[in-house]
Amino acid sequence: MNQPPAFEDEVAALLPRLRRFAHALARSPSDADDLAQMTVERALRSKDRWQPGSRLDSWLYTVMRNLWIDTVRSRSRREKSEAPEVEAATLGHDPSEAVHAAIELKRVMAAMQRLPEEQREVVALILVEGFGYRETAEILELPIGTVSSRLVRGRTALLAMLGEP
């Protein structure tokens, strides 16, 4: 019989996804990595709160989302006026694929930043992470109808921002 994987190993396996979610929430890649790190620290410290048998990924997303909200709230008091800039990312001549991907990521992150937080998290979980409405409602501890209506508003606003290439 194989030993079940250690909690730490399971968390490590979910790191790429957590990091992706962090990028969808945070305003910069370095903020996203900070958030991912905080989430891992927090999760490992409070692993007793996770119920074995329940979905570890959902729990970790909840941990990350709550940390993010805490950070955003503490920061917004300091930097209320500092709206995230939407960079007019100008494509250079024949950019390499990686450069192109980085520019595209920046552009999409900037658009996500312009969404209200409550729409951003719903868009991130459903459209980026691929969770269902029900799972998203559980992660965010919201009624499913709220999730659904925020999603409509968020994606409609995003389409207006990103619609034209």
């Binding site: 250690a6 730490e8 190993d9 968390v11 490590a12 790191l15 790429p16 990091r19 992706r20 990028h23 969808a24 890649p29 370095s30 903020d31 996203a32 990595d33 900070d34 958030l35 991912a36 790190q37 905080m38 891992v40 620290e41 927090r42 490992l44 410290r45 940390l67 805490d70 950070t71 503490s74 920061r75 008091r77 300091r78 990686a98 991907a101 980085a102 595209e104 990521l105 552009r107 999409v108 992150m109 868009v123 459903i126 459209l127 980026v128 691929g130 269902g132 409405y133 109808g145 659904s148 209506s149 999603l151 409509v152 508003r153 994606r155 995003l158 389409l159 990103l162 619609g163």
Partner: protein, 237 residues
Amino acid sequence: MTADDEKFFAWLDGELSGPEASEMEAKVAADPRLASLADQHRALSGRLRTAFESVEQTPISERITAAVRTRKAGVIDFGAAPRSREVRRPAARPAWMAMAAALVLGLALGLLLRAPSNAPFKVQDGGMYAAMSLERALDTQLASAPVAGNVRIGVTFRDQAGGICRSFTSQEASGLACRDDGGWRVRGFFAAPEGQDSEYRMARGMDPNLAGLIDTAIAGDPLDAAQERAAKQNGWR
């Protein structure tokens, strides 16, 4: 937002089934405007997924994987920390700043709200600073001195920016504060595990989170007793 809009998007996201799904499908097929909207939103979702998938192609920074490894290794022997520092030091922005922001917030704000008159923290200039007994202890107590009040100073060191930082342990928690113009800015604050009183904790050693935080922040070795005394005489500069 009308219920109809929500239903359309629920269909688009595969959330509808049975007759509801086929009904919406027929509706979209019959309406070029809806069909075009569906295409635009499918493209948008695809674009979002692709953009964020690129994150997975970039290597996970060492400090994040280190956070997992550190935990797995169990309680950190702080005495051994300086030796392992080279591999675990984060590359760019000190992670502990952000970490402290979140860790400090919940607990410390809780303390502030609960006991506003004698809370060991104050908020100024958008930062959390030591106050009352904690501030006094950080100002006056030497790590080498016996514990006077209910705050014990752990180690004193210079951080990578050259400022003085000191770790402390009190009844409910332990943490790290660094000196700046405003006083002792709290960089990290960790609650004691439930059911452990401070005596037990002191005997058991430093909170591994605090040890990790110090490990990330410290430049060189902690100050020895003579250096610590000199730093105090110099107003912790």
